[in-house]
């Protein structure tokens, strides 16, 4: 207990700082952002000795924005800090954004650390490759680390062309042995290895063209550089861990959405080539929404996506032949109450993972979010096998400022 005490004190301090709110006068620019307390409860005991079932944590994510030159130039600074009560790797600091933007009539230049999203599907994000996944934040792959970049964009009649030079590589974050949702043997991120002799300093590049043709929104992209998704090799020195290996890849991607009436039809396809593996992966499906069901204001969306991956290395992707089905409920009320429930079912076995995400605003500044992830995994040759006992429910209370 005495060992817990200093931790608890920090926790109380953090929480009170967050709840009282931060009132830095923003004279020159504009300060916004959020802080939150989160409580994760793991339904089962960990198969490993250290981690506990209770995992409180806290987040501080301010954002400073300043624009000048009639809003044609702007600066954005968005640091991110997570404190986690049990996982020293999940306690982390990151610069999500630190960039200068210059906007002109039909082009735009961005320099610095930023975040870019590509793609259309819900169950996984294959095409989205610019930013590294912040895996300790959430295993859904939607939390990203800031990426340093030079991004030049052209807006022409024939579409939008984005050019990227990405000078510094960010390694994926992984839980420590004190944390849940980890692999066994654990990943030793400090020993990460690279195909490129330049290691983290390899300069990556990407190009993307996107355009809207009536009901169709289409994007084509190509990336050359260090793969955001590592391969793993056993640590021969210690015989105890896995070492991430970041290969050099060429990845071509396509994302298409067709929108008609209440239907959204979506498709993402990638082809990735490297000296170690070459494969095609794809996600495709639809989202259909019933608006104002039974004379209420509630919208019910039905989502179905098929996930395909022809990689032979089973441990890289859990989605080689899977079906995602989900429903999105939107209450359209004052508190913007929402619920998303989904299951990804492996079509070759009975393995499945369930996801629940719900949120509701309280007043003008607070938001309560519920998240749950549940795994039903029998076959050992999937990465989900590692987290088979890591079902969790998480409650987050955030204050926006």
């Amino acid at each position: 207990m005495s060992e817990l005490k200093p931790k608890l004190q920090i926790y109380v301090l953090l929480v009170s700082a967050i709840l009282v709110g931060i009132h830095i006068p923003a004279t020159a620019g504009e300060l916004s952002g959020y802080s939150a307390v989160e409580y994760r409860y793991f339904l089962h005991e960990s198969p490993y000795p250290e981690p506990s079932q209770h995992d409180p944590s806290a987040v501080l994510a301010p954002e400073y924005y300043h624009a000048w030159d009639e809003d044609n130039q702007s600066l954005i600074i968005a640091p991110f800090f997570r404190w986690d009560s049990q996982d020293s790797e999940r306690t982390h600091f990151d610069v999500r954004e630190l960039s200068w933007l210059k906007v002109s009539d039909d082009w735009e230049l961005k320099l610095g650390v930023s975040k870019v999203y590509w793609g259309v599907t819900e169950s996984q994000h294959l095409v989205d490759i610019i930013n590294q996944t912040d895996q300790v934040e959430n295993i859904d792959g939607e939390e990203k680390l800031g990426q340093s970049m030079i991004n030049l964009s052209f807006f022409k009649d024939w579409g939008t062309l984005d050019l990227f030079v990405l000078p510094y590589f960010r390694e994926r974050t992984f839980p420590s042995t004190d944390g849940r949702l980890r692999s066994n043997p654990p990943i030793d991120a400090d020993k990460a290895d690279y195909e490129s002799g330049a290691g983290q300093h390899h300069i990556d590049a990407a190009i993307r063209w996107s355009q809207t043709f009536g009901n169709w929104d289409i994007g084509l992209s190509h990336f050359y550089g260090t793969s955001r998704e590592p391969l793993f090799s056993p640590d021969r020195m210690s015989q105890k861990g896995l070492i991430p290996f970041y290969e050099l890849i060429n990845q071509t991607g396509m994302d298409v959405q067709m929108t008609t009436e209440s239907w959204l039809w979506k498709l993402e396809v990638i082809r990735r080539e490297s000296d170690f593996e070459t494969f095609t992966a794809s996600t495709g499906g639809f989202e259909y929404t019933f608006y104002g069901v039974l004379e209420t204001n509630i919208d019910i969306g039905v989502i179905a996506e098929y996930l395909f991956d022809d990689r032979n290395v089973n441990l890289t992707s859990p989605f080689e032949n899977d079906l995602m089905m989900g429903t999105r409920l939107t209450w359209n009320d004052e508190q913007s109450t929402e619920l998303l429930l989904g299951v990804v079912q492996d079509l070759d076995s009975s393995d499945a993972s369930w996801n629940l995400e719900a949120s509701r605003r309280i007043g003008n500044r607070w938001k309560l979010s519920l998240e749950g992830r549940f795994f039903k995994v029998g076959k050992p040759e999937t990465p989900l096998y590692f987290v088979r006992d890591d079902d969790y429910i998480q409650l987050e209370l955030a204050r926006y400022f």
Binding site: F155, T259, Y291, D333, Q335
Partner: protein, 260 residues
């Protein structure tokens, strides 16, 4: 069918018969005059505070900035950015509205930096939990409705025309609406909305009209009272500016990312 009606109306117009115009013609003539008086503003920009009030009088606030681009011969383009509530700050909508074809609509979600094309079939759903439906705040285009002149009436000191309009687009939540348009300036003063069962659902009142560029009237207060659930929403508009030199380039989906 529609072309046939137009042809018929045109034919009626050229027939050398001295005949009183029909109630349909009169309705269309009034709305056309109102629409013509609001042509040529090019683009506009304004701030809006939306106050939602429930039955118990509890209020919540949304703050929104709106830019519009007048498109000749088609629906307008609109860009809407949220400042309040804070959890949706930076969320932005881009709409290319059309008369009878479905609108094209994109949303920007700042947390993921994701631009998402969304369905525009949700005409009757509430806008941000308010008593305003999406169709109540979308760009007005003449072909969206059929028109019927009902009567003349005094309303709050205004001599008005009363029209009945019926939506011609799909997915509307209304069978009809009644419009009060003042004879002097052809401004809408009041709208009664009737639900799918033809029962009175909501009343929208327009006030604090101000004139811009010596021609364009804009209501600075709009109040929507829902008669069925007892809730109301008030929109307060401010900082209207016109002819800011905005072009199509300012209403592209890439612009969504850098709205602040």
């Amino acid at each position: 069918m529609r072309n046939w009606i137009i042809t018929f109306v045109l034919l009626l117009g050229i027939l050398p018969v001295v005949q009183a115009e029909t109630v349909q013609e009169k309705g269309l003539a009034i709305i056309t005059e109102s629409d013509n008086r609001d042509k040529g503003w090019q683009d506009s920009s304004a701030d809006m505070v939306m106050t939602l009030r429930n039955r118990k009088g509890k209020e919540s606030i949304r703050e929104i900035r709106v830019k519009n681009l007048e498109v000749d011969g088609d629906g307008d383009k609109g860009l809407t950015v949220f400042d309040q509530p804070r959890d949706v700050k930076g969320t932005a909508f881009l709409t290319y509205s059309h008369a009878l074809e479905p609108d094209e609509q994109w949303i920007f979600l700042p947390a993921l930096k994701r631009i998402k094309r969304i369905s525009s079939s949700n005409k009757s759903g509430p806008f941000m939990g308010s008593e305003f439906a999406y169709e109540d705040i979308s760009s007005f285009e003449i072909p969206k409705y059929s028109y019927l002149y009902l009567r003349e009436e005094m309303l709050d000191g205004h001599d008005t025309f009363v029209l009945e309009i019926r939506p011609q687009y799909k997915h509307s939540g209304y069978t009809k609406s009644h419009l009060w348009i003042d004879k002097k300036e052809y401004r809408i003063q009041k709208i009664d909305f009737y639900d799918r069962k033809d029962a009175l659902l909501k009343t929208q009142q327009f006030s604090d009209y101000k004139k811009y560029l010596d021609q364009y009237w804009r209501a600075h207060t709009m109040t929507m009272n829902n008669h069925q659930n007892g809730k109301s929403t008030t929109l307060k508009w401010s900082n209207y500016t016109f002819q800011n030199g905005l072009t199509d380039k300012d209403f592209e989906k890439n612009d969504l990312k850098r709205q602040r």
